[in-house]
């Protein structure tokens, strides 16, 4: 189970990562981990809005959206989110 390459979303306003195959994220648990790491979170029930270096949304299906159009910054934010929440690795074949 991995995340596909971080790529600009269709409207080119943010970077998006989608897990393959689909996963189910326990948002309550994720919220707890983020808050324990000192990261502010807004719980919208079906997604978390996470105030990191850039604003991030984490959906129940594991979809992650990072509001940045800078690839390096998006990678950095995504990797930190993955580590804090315990999400799967990025696909090593699609760095």
């Amino acid at each position: 189970m991995t995340y596909s390459t971080l790529a600009l979303c269709a409207s080119k306003g943010a970077y998006e990562a989608i897990p393959r195959p689909k996963i189910s994220v326990n948002l309550l648990e994720a919220k707890g981990r983020l808050e324990s790491a000192g990261i502010p979170v807004t719980d919208a029930r079906v997604m978390l809005i996470v105030a990191m270096e850039r604003e991030v949304t984490l959906s129940r299906d594991g979809r992650v959206l990072i509001k940045s159009n800078d690839a390096k910054e998006a990678e950095r934010v995504f990797d930190r989110l993955r580590q804090v929440v315990g999400l799967p690795e990025r696909d090593p074949d699609n760095p």
């Binding site: 979303c9 269709a10 409207s11 080119k12 306003g13 943010a14 807004t42 719980d43 919208a44 029930r45 079906v46 997604m47 809005i49 604003e55 949304t57 299906d61 959206l65 509001k67 159009n69």
Partner: protein
């Protein structure tokens, strides 16, 4: 000519609809529902630039109200059925616009909707959404297809602004309802305090 309130999204359609209303001589006030954090800063920036283009074209002031919509979306996501989220969202937009109309002495509401373009723009959903307000609604683009709207947008100089990169609404459910019935929608709204939420929105309104 009369005074109306126009809902502006930052997309391709709403500035075109506004252009037609201004061309006909109506006095328009605009409302932008600020959907952050479910989008980024780009829709607001686009609306500001659209208005600059149209103000220059028509020599009108065209005031714009900026209303916070993100907190409403969060409340809807927490308390109501996601399947009908787009309809509930639209009902809040209409109600907010109607309140601004009352403040401005406007007698009608306007949008850039055209039939069947997105989930919220089926006939069924439009009917359910607009049952939340009593003012007449004018939809100058209702029978236009996308190519026709884009052609006008290019002609009036708003197309390039609308198509700049930006983030789509993240609050749209994966399978939004394309048919809705008012009974179900009213039941969903019983889970939330609609008047209180609207009061909060209007209390935080800013005029640009």
């Amino acid at each position: 000519m009369s005074r109306g309130v126009m809902l502006m999204s930052g997309g391709i359609d709403s500035p075109v609809a506004l252009h037609f209303m201004l061309r006909q001589g109506h006095e328009m006030t605009c409302v932008h529902m600020d959907n952050r954090p479910f989008t980024d800063d780009s829709p607001l920036a686009k609306v500001v630039d659209h208005l600059e283009v149209l103000r220059a074209r028509y020599g009108q002031k065209i005031p714009m109200y900026l209303l916070p919509h993100g907190p409403t979306q969060i409340q809807l996501m927490r308390e109501t059925d996601r399947h009908v989220g787009c309809v509930l969202c639209r009902r809040f937009m209409w109600r907010s616009a109607e309140r601004i109309a009352a403040r401005e002495g406007a007698t009608f509401l306007t949008t850039g909707e055209s039939l069947g373009q997105v989930a919220s723009q089926t006939l069924s959903n439009m009917r359910t959404a607009t049952a939340s307000v009593s003012l007449p609604i004018v939809r100058p683009l209702i029978g236009f297809d996308k190519q026709e709207i884009e052609a006008v947008a290019k002609e009036i100089g708003t197309y390039e602004i609308s198509t700049r990169p930006g983030l789509c609404c993240q609050a749209v459910p994966s399978k939004p309802a394309t048919r809705s019935n008012l009974v179900q929608i009213l039941q969903e709204e019983q889970r939330i305090d609609v008047d209180q939420m609207l009061d909060d929105v209007l209390r935080h309104a800013t005029v640009l």
